[in-house]
Symmetry: C2
Subunit: 356 residues, 2 copies
DNA sequence: GTGAAAGCGCTAACAA
DNA sequence: TTGTTAGCGCTTTCAC
């Protein structure tokens, strides 16, 4: 039983590896970090001993000594919908091979909570910060500015970023959908969205939407708001409600694809001709929903791409030093009319309302 | 301009606050941690100075000194599907108010990558580890055992946990669905699942499923496998393919709700009578999909609850010291027959096949 | 190619 | 109630 290794009460340290291998702590450290010149023999021995012991370096000590942390703070409002996981995947992909690790915090669409989460994350001195949206409490903005690391605000470009920004213009996304709807000849437009006052992106889409409708001589004829999670059922219920109240609506614009999909299912069940009698559109471009009875008109929010580009900016800055110039990347929200928005006069004039 | 504070090149330290407030570093530290007895006056002054300066404590240094870290490592296979975000929400909820913060790593259903992610996270000396599944590389198991912190393996209880475990029996989930199917009188059963050999839970469901079918004198008549993301479209395509090959199938069991939903949409489009001519069932109990043309038969995997309970175990152990006894929590997978599985002889015998 | 000494920013333990 | 001292485990820097 000579080699039985009892469960260590005290975590192993460099010193343990040093003593067990007969090499100085310094050299062990070099081996473990693949740094400096270490002879092949020494290197092999140290590696073997470290592995045998099951040594795991202590990054807390390492980071304190080196003043460098391989963490990137990522702050997003929610994990519940299908939007942000996709962004995270993009970030993961963009950080791949850089040695940087994302650490995710959830702000719950609540500025006060966002502030807390940010403070918490900053106290780990991350090498970069990726944060959703451009709207933050004053204190949060101050922290971001004072942090002296690259900050990338993502998703939205309509506003003043603290540092870099990668996103789409939600105003533009809303406006383009309004134009497509107007050009296709729809006239009685309903809007279905969230009550969440802190969902600034949904708000901006709505503003862009109504603005462009107005320029086309149209307006939102009725609205329906919801709170809580957005599932198919919610979409069905809202659609039933708004159509009962305003049966003459001929287009419904939803603030996300999931409730739009529910609305589509409702319309199909109700025997409404889509997109003839009534048109529908969502937002986000959720790939998982491809395969609905009709392809949903929507705007691709470029979620993955946003994550990738934001991560790339952080990675570059971590490499080049924090002095890098801020980047402002506005991706183009890609509208797809699918099969729920008439392909009326899509080639037509940009702003003028055109009948079918 | 006397109060203009230039962007600091060097991050602020306790010492800065100490000097600016004329109080010792130690007292500042006490104030900032709400610890020890500090006079109200001193406390107020320190707080004011810290805020004015924009001081953010350095947790790296703090953790090194105190040998305590308020981080919980969470390792899950993926963020792409709708399964794990829900678990994360549960973990977040369970950690609420404990001062512990989850840190998420993604293992991509790849044991080697899981090992790397685990190593990386352990190097931050987290106060607890929540990791999906019971199958890990030998090295990973060794690390988990050596880490000397609470480990909770989640999702699955069919196997030997390293420490605590919270999950459901996927074998049982598969078996119960098979029994319900057999009892309802279906006879020609098709299975649609993932090719991923590392999705052990899907594999166990399949094993439980075929085992129980066999006991009912039935077998899986045809199978269809897919790789890549699971969306509605994938479900449609797979369903079309398997039904073209085996038109006489009268039940399809899918490895998740999303492809099952796609299958349902296909069957509806194809004019197949569901659940009369053909029955369908998925797995997970995805709430967002409530609202499909027919309520899908599925098994609720208790995802949120699993997250909450796992977090509670970690929180309790962090409180009580690491000596806490391992907990083994097997939740009951809740089968719901919805409207896509005939309510044939559900009250009938447990194992005996019963015709409709 | 290797080692010794100093210190990263904070907190535990003790002293006053 | 407040302050002093001695590290936490590693990496930096410099010496050999």
């Amino acid at each position: 039983m000579t080699h039985a290794s009892p469960r260590p009460r005290r975590p192993l340290t460099l010193r343990d590896v040093s003593e067990a291998s007969g090499v100085s702590e310094m050299t062990v450290s070099r081996v473990l970090r693949n740094t400096g010149d270490v002879s092949g023999a020494t290197r092999a021995r140290v590696l073997a001993v470290a592995k045998a012991l099951g040594y795991v370096p202590n990054k807390i000590a390492g980071s304190l000594a080196s003043q460098r942390v391989n963490l990137v703070a990522v702050i997003i409002p929610s994990l519940s919908n299908m939007v942000f996981p996709e962004v995270l995947n993009g970030i993961n992909a963009g950080l791949e091979g850089t040695g940087l690790q994302p650490v995710v915090g959830v702000s719950r669409y609540d500025p006060a909570h966002e502030e807390k989460v940010l403070y918490e994350m900053l106290s780990w001195r991350p090498s970069g910060i990726i944060i959703a949206g451009l709207e933050h409490s004053q204190a949060a903005r101050a922290m971001l500015r004072a942090a002296d690391v690259s900050v990338v605000e993502i998703m939205d470009v309509d506003g003043e970023p603290v540092d870099s920004v990668v996103g789409i213009s939600h105003r533009r996304a809303g406006a383009e959908m309004a134009q497509a709807i107007a050009r296709a000849g729809y006239r009685r437009i309903g809007f279905l969205g969230t009550t969440m006052p802190m969902d600034h992106r949904a708000r901006k889409r709505f503003e862009g939407f109504t603005g462009a409708l107005a320029r086309a001589g149209l307006e939102v004829a009725d609205q329906e708001f919801y709170s809580g999670g957005s599932g198919l059922l919610k979409g069905r219920e809202m659609t039933r409600a708004i159509l009962r109240r305003s049966p003459d609506l001929d287009f419904l614009y939803y603030s996300n694809d999931m409730i739009a999909a529910g609305g589509l299912l409702h319309c199909v069940d109700a025997g409404l001709d889509v997109p003839g009698r009534i048109g529908l559109a969502g937002f986000n471009g959720i790939e998982l929903l491809d395969g609905l009875p009709l392809a949903l008109a929507t705007t691709d929010a470029c979620r993955r791409e946003i994550g990738e580009k934001a991560a790339a900016i952080i990675a570059r800055a971590a490499e080049a030093g924090p002095a890098a110039r801020p980047e402002r990347i506005a991706l183009a929200p890609r509208l797809s009319v699918g099969q729920t928005l008439l392909r009326g006069a899509l080639g037509g004039g940009q702003d003028s309302p055109v009948g079918v």
